[in-house]
Symmetry: none
Subunit: 221 residues, 2 copies
């Protein structure tokens, strides 16, 4: 244990990152920080935890290079270190979603007792679209898009995000959605768009919920 070859040392570094992701509260903190920078106090209030506890978890995340700290007046504002954190979060979730039968069960229960913390709600999106303030993209594969999508949305499958973004107005905000709140594709789309300099957010949930809410659905021509 004391004598480590470089290979083992590397694995230890990787393990530090994964271990930092290995706690429910820290994951929740990461999702909060994905919405924007937060002070320790704000995070603590949001998550209903003692401030000192949040502070310590933030230290752990910082040691792993997952979050960055920046002083802003009296506050220290924490934010995600970079976009790669979001994709790591998304792929951990992808493993959990595909493999843990229990997740399905929990997710179903979750739809009934949802709380408020998704970036853009359906109602909010309707207002934004009515006022022409955002571009809405549907990142699902074309066949799913053809079966019904948010009126006015553009179909931009994940693989085409980068090409599409080059012709898009970089100053206009993009709202991405896919299959639902636990679908990774819209996370990845947002991460990709942000790293390309665009302003992007996720829709709170996805197509099935939109249709279930009785909102208009457009079919392919």
């Amino acid at each position: 244990m004391s004598i480590r070859n470089p290979k083992q040392a590397l694995y230890e570094q990787f393990a530090i990152v994964a271990k930092a992701l290995g706690h429910p509260l820290r994951l929740e903190m990461i999702e909060q920080l994905a919405q924007g920078a937060r002070s320790v106090e704000a995070l603590a209030a949001k998550l209903g935890q003692p401030i000192a506890n949040i502070s310590q978890h933030l230290q752990a995340l910082r040691r792993a290079g997952i979050v960055a700290a920046e002083r802003d007046g009296k506050f220290v504002r924490y934010s995600l270190a970079d976009e790669s954190v979001l994709s790591a979060f998304a792929s951990v979730r992808a493993v959990a979603e595909r493999r843990l039968a229990e997740v399905d069960r929990i997710v179903r229960g979750y739809f009934e007792a949802r709380d408020q913390m998704r970036p853009v709600s359906r109602d909010e999106l309707q207002v934004l679209m009515r006022d022409g303030l955002v571009t809405v993209i549907d990142v699902r594969p074309p066949d799913e898009f053809a079966l019904g999508h948010v009126p006015g949305a553009i179909n931009v499958p994940l693989g085409e995000i980068e090409a599409w973004s080059q012709n898009a107005d970089a100053g206009r905000e993009v709202v991405a959605y896919c299959r639902g709140p636990w679908c990774v594709m819209s996370f990845e789309a947002v991460a990709a768009l942000r790293s390309l300099g665009h302003s992007a957010r996720r829709l709170e949930d996805g197509m099935p919920e939109w249709k279930a809410a009785g909102l208009p659905v457009e079919m392919a021509a």
Copy 2:
């Protein structure tokens, strides 16, 4: 803590996956399993660990849905549960690479010092092979080679590099690959070949990435 809403329960499931990735030995096991299915005994031998220890870590990985078990005669063969595991591994690594200063130091100090030449990308290698310009050697042990290798590659385990090079055309460039971007064997192979007067480079990554990219894989006869 005892009363969990569905959201927290969900984060707990995600945390189980991340926690399972949060141990150097388990990460090493995952890299091994990315090469192909392995028995407990084979893994233990490969990593120099007690069998019971490996078995317990495998249970942890299985609980997290990261590996799958399948009985094969007397042995239980473990393998990665699906492709999403590899991408989770890769994104954890990406976070570590970008953010941990120590990783940079380790990588520069150990890996890059041994390989100042640009590694060969997969696309580049395909062109070089198509045009017959290079000899490709797979420096992994024969058992891993047998489970799948780059078509046309020759299996030259590390210990046989010197003997093999004496019968090889010294004017022909060699491309070596092994288990992946962090596998040391191809670095050492390239270093050995260069010191023997050959022209040698590494493939940028290794076998699991080649297979994951959907490129053809050849099995042993």
